[in-house]
């Protein structure tokens, strides 16, 4: 019964997300609504877990986890004109004891965008590459133990960095790099957690401490010297859907 509740709440959450993405209005409104849905989902799963009671004993074994996943940003400036959306690569390693998992994770996103620089010879097209990386520690609490479907919720905190460079003649010398701290909630489900190889699907919202610096190139005059102009800041706060495989060794 409690599993049905969890599945129902998951379905409800997914449907709500789908509805809001299809009919979503402006950017801030969408972000606010999605955070609310995420919180609703976490609370719902927690209530379901409580209602189940504690008939299953939690395992006292230590779990070592290694995993590989992919993540996709659903909201934020990734979807706007800053740069093209890209699927990120996630690698993590961690350990768990009883209901808690402590994980160190690394995420990498890379994206290219076609830009145009103003010059005496007209607009010059060039490619700008964005590399967004997150290194974070997260704590997750398993809401149910000893089940084939284990929902969990938690939080993460770490550092994020955005490296921007272009393919104009100065190549990487032209890059700018900015680092920020990041944090956010995580909620997801683990399928077959007692198997050596298990599957996880989660959603997380990443808040960055501040927006990131960006630049545009221009070339004034016939001397051919490029100039870097500061452009608007990039806000990379976003909701991510993450999925992948985790290898768990239980001692």
């Amino acid at each position: 019964m409690s599993k049905n509740n969890i599945i129902n709440s998951l379905e409800l959450g997914c449907q709500s997300i789908k509805i809001y993405f299809v009919n979503g209005g402006n950017y801030l409104k969408n972000q606010f609504i999605l955070v609310l849905i995420l919180l609703f989902f976490i609370v719902n799963v927690d209530i379901s877990a409580e209602s189940k009671g504690k008939e299953d004993d939690t395992s006292n074994n230590i779990r070592i986890m290694l995993g590989l996943g992919a993540s996709y940003p659903l909201t934020g400036r990734f979807l706007n004109d800053t740069f093209d959306n890209s699927i990120g690569l996630n690698i993590f390693a961690g350990a768990g004891y009883q209901s808690f998992d402590f994980i160190c994770e690394f995420s990498h996103y890379s994206s290219k965008k076609e830009m145009e620089a103003v010059s005496s010879f007209g607009n010059i097209p060039y490619n700008k590459t964005y590399k967004y990386e997150l290194l974070a520690l997260s704590v997750r609490y398993r809401l149910i133990q000893n089940s084939n479907i284990v929902p969990y919720a938690g939080a993460f905190a770490g550092v994020s960095s955005l490296d921007i460079y272009d393919d104009v003649y100065i190549n990487k010398d032209n890059s700018i790099n900015s680092c920020r701290y990041c944090f956010g909630p995580v909620a997801g489900i683990l399928l077959f957690p007692n198997n050596v190889v298990n599957v996880f699907v989660e959603m997380k919202y990443c808040f960055n401490g501040n927006s990131f610096s960006d630049y545009n190139l221009s070339n004034r005059g016939i001397a051919g010297a490029w100039r870097k102009d500061e452009s608007s800041k990039i806000n990379l706060n976003a909701l991510y859907v993450v999925g992948g495989l985790s290898c768990t060794i239980i001692y």
Binding site: I222, G224, W226
Partner: protein, 159 residues
């Protein structure tokens, strides 16, 4: 017999050496350090021109071309950048009206604006009579890197 062979060999070697020397002396260095060289056809080096003279040159496939006139010999620093833009008096480039690859009349060229680093269209270039000037051409690729350049030719503008 061996004397004859040796004599012929010396004459042949001397001829080759002379040819190499004459070719290398005739070859003027490009203004910029580039792999490809644009060729200036007319006016030739140290030629006298008058009236609405025509400047002819040949270039490779550079996306953007610049033809510039200088009142003093243009110099380039170790970063392959022109250092005496203040001596530039005018010219034309690919994105200006009436630009045609390979040929340009003096009346089409526009005067140079030092502040904007542009051939700004404030009128044609006006040259003083009986004065030496220098002209050259260089080409840029799609990302405005200098990829070809000509030598610098001197000319005198006469009545």
């Amino acid at each position: 017999m061996y004397d004859n062979i040796l004599k012929n060999l010396i004459i042949f070697s001397s001829a080759i050496l002379l040819l190499v020397i004459s070719v290398s002396c005739d070859d003027q260095a490009s203004l910029f350090d580039t792999d490809r060289e644009s060729r200036l056809i007319s006016p030739e080096n140290k030629e006298e021109i008058s009236g609405d003279a025509e400047f002819r040159y040949s270039s490779y496939d550079a996306k953007y071309l610049i033809l510039a006139l200088f009142s003093d010999y243009p110099s380039v620093n170790s970063d392959n950048r022109l250092t005496n833009w203040e001596d530039c008096i005018g010219g034309i480039h690919t994105n200006m009206p009436y630009f045609t690859r390979g040929v340009c009349r003096l009346s089409i060229m526009q005067s140079y604006d030092v502040d904007k680093n542009e051939f700004n269209g404030n009128g044609p270039v006006i040259l003083d009579y009986n004065r030496k000037y220098y002209w050259c051409v260089w080409g840029l690729d799609e990302q405005l890197r200098i990829i070809e350049s000509s030598p610098v030719y001197e000319f005198t503008y006469v009545e």
